[in-house]
């Protein structure tokens, strides 16, 4: 089946186009099922590839390339026509992600059938979702990082469309613009990194790039700059500090769309690109360190914001940012396997959380958790599945999140204790605020009776995807952590393939440079956590944080929590204002507008004046001078001659009758005959 892997991104694209152009807008349109069908095909392909690899039937990585277009290029002073390939590269992480992305997308689409059924732009929504998924799948399978970047940007476009789906309202419009611009800001870093990589290696092919790095052909400085550029891109897309401002606002879009953005596509892309270009980071320890710290700071800042928010979707958005920080931190600490593992498990439970929250919102028509409470009695299925997701994200054994988060903590422990402790604190904060969410929403007493009485369990099309995702949130961790499968699925790339590649390369100098390559690192010896942490975290700390949250938020008024909030009012305000990052962002926008206005003022008042009007003025001065010269000298001479003949004419005219043609003719005839006589008699 793997030879059809190139179809995976194309099927949803086709589905999207058919949906978009296939029929008129109609809430009962059967077109969305095309998208679901397409996604099912993708899922089947992905499953066959993944199962084939796990059971040993398929050898990965699998790569196949086709010619895309030819362009003239100059490398090292030589110009030639080079053919840009386009193709698929499926390594084990890609196989896993194919499965995850198509599964989550399929679930989201099934869910959306019920969720979006009375929207006026029903069909367009499904077209966007299919296209969104296609872009992500394209990024996952692409063997060419430029194509990957194109998919990445298209994802930015579709997220823009989805976030601003209800564009009649002000909020989504601002949010979509913010998302696009912030990610674009990060993208420019990735853009420059690609330019640099191409300038250094002359290729966009991932495998060839890897080889260049493995052979040590790229200077560490260049690798560091490229890695930082890639990191910037990831920071934008995966909403890392300080570019995280867009993600909390991104929930202005339809909830299932948010689920897709937060779980499997948009934000996962940043982590995915870092992992795809991980060899660049391996060659740039400084960038690795930066990634670790940025991940850590993001994880902490977002978790802190989640502690105080009462908007259910916003809490989930902050938790996404926080979890992405975990992943980036893991990657930065060298925990490649841990980071990608968490990306996978996170996709399941985060999609589940968003879809569950959507189910709740669908039922009570508010986002404010203070108006919920006790909903477990009304929506048992939603409650049960949400509980699974919360346990998973908190890291309770044996749910999926436990395994992956544990692995991240181990990676951090091995890398740097200064990262480990704050990260552990953040993990506990996660447990706290997620339990708080669950408690506020489902447990305790109903705070708003009216809403409570109207609440009802959602239809099967909504609950079925929840159950499927709950299954994976429960089992994915166990399955992958079992028997070292994680290391097989997410093998950490190394720069030590240098030796093999060098042996295959005939050039002796290349081999020599590879042998002396200082970038080749020996794999770190993995240490386990000390026992008290290894068992203490899941056994004591996490349950402790969860119980604390439960007791603090159980009552109808949660006085304890409110008391804490007023006791630490400045901090609470700081967190409510989201670390003032939004204000900083707005200030930046205002600043740019100011610069733009200034630029235009300069253009209209200085450049235009100097180079157009000034030019004209110069010409006019020259013209005035020459006009003066003309009038005073040249024209005076002409006037003199003219005046003379005028005077002569006036004098003569007084001699003859006026206006009679024949008289003139007579004078002419006389003159001619005189002239003729003169000439002939000479």
């Amino acid at each position: 089946m793997i030879e059809y892997a190139w179809l995976i991104p194309l099927i949803p694209v086709a589905a999207s186009l058919i949906i978009l152009f296939g029929a008129k807008e109609d809430p009962r349109s059967p077109l969305p099922w095309i998208g679901i069908g397409a996604m099912t095909v993708c899922l089947a392909l992905a499953v066959s590839i993944l199962w084939g690899f796990v059971s040993g039937g398929v050898a990965l990585p699998y790569e196949k390339n086709w010619d895309w277009f030819s362009l003239a290029t100059t490398i090292g002073g030589q110009s030639f026509v080079w053919t840009m390939p386009v193709g698929v590269l499926i390594d084990p992480p890609a196989a896993v992600l194919l499965f995850v992305v198509s599964l989550v997308s399929l679930m989201v689409q099934v869910y959306s059938i019920a969720y979006m059924h009375d929207d006026t732009r029903y069909k367009r929504y499904f077209a966007f979702v299919s296209f969104f998924t296609a872009a992500m799948l394209g990024l996952v399978v692409s063997s060419n990082i430029l194509v990957g970047f194109m998919c990445w940007e298209l994802m930015g476009l579709t997220s823009y469309l989805l976030i601003g789906f209800w564009f009649e309202r002000e909020g989504p419009c601002e949010a979509q613009k913010k998302a696009f611009m912030t990610t674009k800001l990060g993208d420019s870093g990735l853009y420059l990194a690609l330019l640099l990589l191409y300038a250094k290696t002359g290729t966009f092919q991932l495998t060839q790039l890897h080889q260049h790095f493995a052979l040590g052909l790229v200077a560490p400085a260049a690798a560091t700059v490229a890695a930082i550029g890639i990191l910037l891109g990831a920071m934008g897309k995966s909403a890392q500090a300080p570019l995280m401002v867009w993600l909390p606002d991104a929930m202005e879009g339809p909830t299932p769309g948010s689920a897709l953005i937060h779980a499997a596509t948009m934000v996962a892309a940043g982590i995915l690109v870092v992992s795809k270009l991980y060899f660049v980071f391996l060659a740039a320890p400084l960038a690795m360190e930066a990634a670790a710290w940025i991940g850590l700071i993001t994880a902490f800042m977002a978790a802190a914001m989640a502690l105080v928010s009462f908007d259910i979707k916003r809490v989930l958005a902050f938790s996404t940012v926080s979890q992405l920080g975990f992943m980036l931190c893991a990657l930065g600490c060298g925990g490649y396997t841990a980071g990608l593992f968490h990306l996978t498990t996170h996709a399941f439970f985060k999609a589940l959380l968003f879809l569950g929250a959507g189910s709740v919102i669908h039922s009570v028509h508010t986002n404010d958790m203070r108006q919920m409470g006790g909903l477990s009695r009304r929506m048992l299925l939603t409650f049960a599945t949400m509980t699974v997701a919360v346990l998973a994200i908190c890291g309770v054994w044996p749910f999926a999140g436990f395994y992956s988060k544990d692995m991240i903590l181990v990676a951090a422990w091995n890398h740097e204790k200064w990262i480990f402790w704050p990260l552990l604190l953040t993990a506990l904060m996660t447990a706290f605020y997620m339990t708080r969410l669950l408690t506020l929403t489902f447990l305790g007493d109903d705070r708003d009776h009216e809403r409570f009485h109207h609440a009802h369990e959602s239809p099967a099309l909504i609950t079925a995807p929840l159950l499927v995702l709950a299954f994976f949130s429960l089992t994915a961790g166990m399955a992958v952590a079992h028997d070292g499968l994680a290391a097989r699925l997410f093998p950490k790339p190394t720069l030590s393939v240098a030796a093999d590649a060098a042996a295959a390369t005939p050039s002796a100098s290349v081999a020599a440079s590879a042998a002396n390559n200082p970038q080749v690192q020996t794999p770190d010896a993995e240490q386990e956590l000390p026992d008290w942490l290894k068992f203490g975290i899941p056994g004591v700390f996490v349950p402790g944080a969860m119980l604390l949250a439960f007791f603090m938020y159980r009552g109808p008024k949660f006085e304890a929590a409110e008391g804490l909030r007023s006791a630490f009012a400045p901090i609470a305000t700081l967190l409510d204002r989201r670390w003032y990052l939004d204000d900083a962002f707005l200030a930046l926008v205002a600043f740019c507008d100011g610069v733009a206005a200034l630029a235009f003022w300069i253009d209209a008042n200085i450049v235009d004046r100097v180079f157009v009007d000034g030019w004209g003025l110069l010409m006019r001065i020259i013209a005035e001078i020459s006009s003066f010269f003309d009038g005073a000298f040249v024209d005076a001479a002409v006037d003199g001659v003219g005046g003379l003949s005028t005077d002569l004419g006036v004098g003569l005219r007084s001699l003859v009758a006026e206006g009679q043609v024949q008289e003139y003719m007579m004078y002419a005839a006389i003159a001619v005959s005189l002239a003729a006589t003169l000439i002939l008699t000479r």
Binding site: E658, G659, Q660, Q662, Y664, M665, A669
Partner: protein
């Protein structure tokens, strides 16, 4: 018949033409006089050609050209005349003194 005879006739024709052009008061008359002058010139051309270069036909050809041009000229002249007549209801030159400065 010698060249001088032709020249005499032609000179006479020309002078008649000049006289007419200078004295006629009717514009049509003036135009006719001008035609006479043309024809005097044509006669000259043909005669010179016949007597001085009997091998060719250049003079005659030139004469034909002149006739054509004269026709064109008379067309323009008559058109102008018509325009004048429409505006002033007269064809007598002494009634015009547009050139008077």
């Amino acid at each position: 018949m010698t060249l001088a005879d032709y020249m005499t006739v032609s000179a006479l024709l020309f002078l008649i033409g000049v006289f007419g052009a200078l004295t006629r008061r009717n514009i049509i008359g003036i135009l006719m006089s001008i035609e006479l002058m043309f024809n005097a010139a044509n006669l000259n051309l043909a005669a010179f050609d016949r007597f001085l270069h009997p091998e060719g036909l250049i003079g005659q050809a030139l004469a034909v050209f002149v006739i054509t041009v004269a026709a064109a000229e008379i067309v323009v002249g008559l058109a102008l005349l018509l325009a004048i007549y429409r505006n002033t209801d007269t064809t007598y030159v002494e009634d015009f003194h547009l050139l008077k400065g």
